[in-house]
Structure formats: C-alpha cells, structure tokens
C-alpha cells in the first residue's frame, strides 16, 4: 500500500493551525512571534530542500555518491556539535574521526546484517539511517563533550592534584568522563523507557502512515533505536578519547585555549 499524498489544500490546512499558536503568543504577550515565524520558514525551506536532494539521491542511487553524502553529513554534524559545545574548531580533526568511525561502523553493520537492502548501499536505506544516527550522535556527543571539559575546568584543582600525584591524563580524567557520560545517557534512557507508552516514534508512525504493517514498522523502529544507541555511545566516547589528545598538553594540563 502506497502512502496517500497530502494535497496542497491539505498542507494549507496544516499551516492554518499555526494561527492558534500565534494567537496564544499574542494573547499572552510573548514577544517571540518573529522568531517563531522565522523558525517555521526555515523548517519549511530546509525540508523542501531535503525533499529535492533526497529525490535526486534516490534517483541517482550511486554507492559512491551515497558514501560521499554520508561523509559530508558527518562533517556538518561535527562542525555543529563543536559550535554548540563551547569548544574551538581546532578539535575538528579529533572529533570528526570519532563521529565517522561510530556512524560508519554501526551503519555498515546494520545495513549489511539487519536491513539487508538490495543493492547494499541503497540510498533509500543508507541516507535516512545515517541521518538518524548522525542527528542523535551529534546531540549526545555535544552534551558529553561539553560536560566533560567543563567538569575538568570546574575542578581544575582536583584534576591537577591527580596529575601531580603521577596519574596519566586518562586516569585523572576518568571520573569526569564517567560523569559526562552519565549526563549524556540519562535523557536517552528516559526517552527509551517511555517509547510506545507516552509517544510513538516519528519513523514508525511515518512507516505506518506510509502503508507498512505495524509489526514491520515496529521491527524497523527497534532496530533503529538499537543502532542509534550503539552509535551515540561510540561517538561520544570516541570523541572524548580522541579530543583528549588536543585538550591536554604533554604534562597533563588542560589546554584552556580549546575553549571559546
């Protein structure tokens, strides 16, 4: 069964409901109308562009183009996460391989052993799955990196005392890694525990609306959640490990110049 297309009138009806949101802002004198409008325009333009490039990628369906696209998405995600984490772009060369290894390994594993599309590098599988892995890994890695470096910076005396007693950077930083890791993992655990009870994930809902039987959609959703979980774990831990080469000097000191 194919998904029933939404007509232009239907899209107009969807946008019309935003009037309620603007009315609420106006009634409550919240001065965010301009920002909301801007965000809505951006969302529309971005998704329209996604529609255009996905159509082109799916039509082309060239394995080399697909891999190149994933690489480009990795670079953009890496740039965004460093910008959001309060760290300088000098760390790009260290966090980029972390993201690439995590996404590449998990994507290859799931495509080859779980989804098994034909051809193997089918754009319809590789591009959307890579996008989901990257989006989640980016936000988790951002939180973990930010928490890690600000925790060490906030307890510089405690960290330095371990270095002064002969600990390696890895040994001295271990408790801060663990704290950052826990902070990054907590929201994901909470959301995983309520999937299906409180909300239905977007991908699964989309598949059901697109005509897939619910159980097929649920199998895909479970596989995707596991893939996201493993990729985000790998990406955030590798990003910390790799970035420590740049983040600390040869004597074990935190390089304060990595912060913006």
């Amino acid at each position: 069964m194919e998904a029933k297309e939404i007509t232009w009138i239907g899209m107009g009806a969807a946008y019309a409901t935003l009037g309620v949101s603007f009315l609420m802002l106006w009634l409550n004198r919240v001065k965010l109308k301009k920002q909301l409008l801007l965000a809505l325009v951006r969302m529309t333009v971005q998704l329209a562009l996604v529609g255009i490039y996905l159509t082109a990628l799916f039509d082309l369906n060239d394995p080399i183009v697909n891999v190149a696209w994933v690489l480009a998405m990795c670079a953009v995600a890496n740039y965004s996460l460093l910008r959001g984490s309060g760290l300088k772009l000098a760390l790009f060369a260290y966090t980029f391989p972390a993201l690439l290894i995590a996404i590449g390994a998990v994507l290859a594993y799931f495509v080859a052993l779980v989804f098994q599309p034909s051809p193997l590098l089918d754009a319809r599988y590789v591009i959307p799955v890579a996008g989901m892995l990257l989006g989640n890994s980016m936000s988790r890695t951002l939180i973990t990196l930010e928490r890690f470096y600000s925790a060490v910076r906030g307890d510089l005396d405690g960290y330095s005392s371990c270095i002064a007693m002969g600990a390696s950077v890895r040994e001295a930083a271990a408790p801060y890694v663990s704290t950052a890791y826990r902070v990054g993992l907590a929201p994901w655990l909470a959301s995983m525990a309520t999937i299906g009870l409180v909300f239905l994930p977007g991908m699964m809902t989309g598949q059901i609306l697109g005509g897939s039987p619910p159980m097929t959609a649920i199998f895909y959703q479970i596989a995707i959640i596991i893939a996201i979980h493993v990729a985000t774990e790998l990406a955030s831990m590798l990003a910390i490990r790799f970035s420590m080469r740049k983040g600390f000097d040869e004597l074990g000191f935190l390089r304060l110049e990595i912060f913006k």
């Binding site: 925790a151 330095s160 005392s161 002064a164 007693m165 408790p175």
Partner: protein, 219 residues
C-alpha cells in the same frame, strides 16, 4: 632537596611571584605563610610543575622540573589542594580507592586494616567510608583527602591549607601527626599557628615577594 632559584611567575599577564629563592631539605616540615593573595598557592603549584616559572628554575634532587623529569617526581609526590570537591556520586571509599587505580600507585593499594588505621589516626568513623563524598562536611572531606596521603606514603607531601575546614581539636591532631612523619618532606601552605611555630622552615610571602625564609634555631 627542593631548590628554587630566583623565580618569577606571571599568570594571565599578571605578576604573581617575584624573585623567590629558598631551599627545602629532605625531611623538612616547611610552611609557606603570609596574607591572602600573596602567592602561596601559586608557589606550591610551582613545586610540582602545575605552574611553570616565567624566570628562574625549580629543581628537585638536582632535576629541573621540566618535561620527563616531572613525571618521575610526580610519582613520588602527594599533592592536596585546599578544597576536596566531590566529582559525582562517589562514596568516600571510592574516593580513597581512586588514587590506587593509578599505575604509579597500584602496588600500594592498602589492606582493609591499613585503611581503618588511617581513618582512626584522623578520627574518622569507618562508617563514613560508605557515605557519599557530597554528604560529608568540608572538614571530613579534607580528612578523607589526607587519608589518601597517609596511605600513599609518598616522600614529598605538598599540602595547600588542608586543615582550613577542620575543627580546632582535629586540626591540632593532624598537624602533630604530619610533623611526626619521619623521612617525609612536607611543604604546607597554612595559617595554622601551631604548624608555623613547629615548622623546620618558615617561608613568608607578601604581595608575591619573599619576606623571609628562616629556620628556627638557625641551620
């Protein structure tokens, strides 16, 4: 022996220490004292390479504190900052054990009896080991930090106002205990009159400059 020769220290473009020079002998119980902001903590950090002098040099047993030499010296040193801050949800036992996970200290991991003895010396109840560090008072956290120091048995102890949050009675006990550690060189930043009075070397700073470095009774 620790030797400081004509040390200047600038941090963030600001002069912190100027023209500091003195010697700490093996086994000394040295104190660095002076008013707040006189550069005491910065001076202590210089002794273990946590700051690098802008001019002059620091040597420990003849080895300058640069590059690889620092790693060797750090393996023989216990350093404790003034504030012992909990990092997460760790218990006091995990806090003490943490340093014995370092490759340089793994062989020194204490037995249960040694740990209890160290707690007793610092008048800490064994039950506190199972409490979270965040639940302990500032003084108890400082004493847990010193438990690490006693168990590590390092030949050089650098202590930065490590009794500042401890009550008077326990402060006296800790100072007496530290002064009695044989074969251990101690350099302590402190305001404690007993520690200053009984020290074998008193280094006084004012506004980043050395007022005096004296040994009571000469020597």
């Amino acid at each position: 022996m620790i030797t400081l020769e004509d040390i200047d220290l600038d941090l963030g473009g600001k002069p912190i220490l100027r023209g500091i020079g003195f010697q700490v002998r093996s086994g000394d119980k040295a104190v660095i004292h002076g008013e707040s902001g006189s550069g005491k903590t910065s001076l202590l950090k210089l002794l273990i390479g946590l700051h690098r002098p802008s001019r002059g040099r620091v040597t420990i047993d003849g080895a300058e504190l640069t590059g690889k030499a620092i790693h060797g010296i750090r393996g023989r040193t216990f350093y404790m900052p003034q504030e012992v801050r909990p990092i997460g949800e760790e218990t006091a036992r995990e806090f003490v054990d943490f340093v014995f996970g370092f490759a340089v200290a793994r062989a020194l991991a204490p037995s249960g009896d040694e740990l209890l003895e160290a707690l007793e010396r610092l008048r800490l109840a064994p039950e506190l080991l199972e409490a979270r560090m965040s639940e302990l008072s500032g003084g108890e956290r400082q004493r847990m930090g010193l438990v690490r120091g006693l168990l590590l048995r390092r030949e050089l102890m650098l202590l930065d106002e490590v009794t500042s949050a401890v009550d008077e009675e326990n402060k006296r006990l800790i100072v007496e205990h530290l002064l009695g550690l044989e074969g251990v060189t101690i350099v302590a930043v402190t305001h404690d009159p007993l520690f200053v009075e009984r020290a074998s070397l008193r280094v006084e700073l004012r506004a980043g400059e050395l007022v005096r470095a004296e040994r009571p009774g000469g020597g």
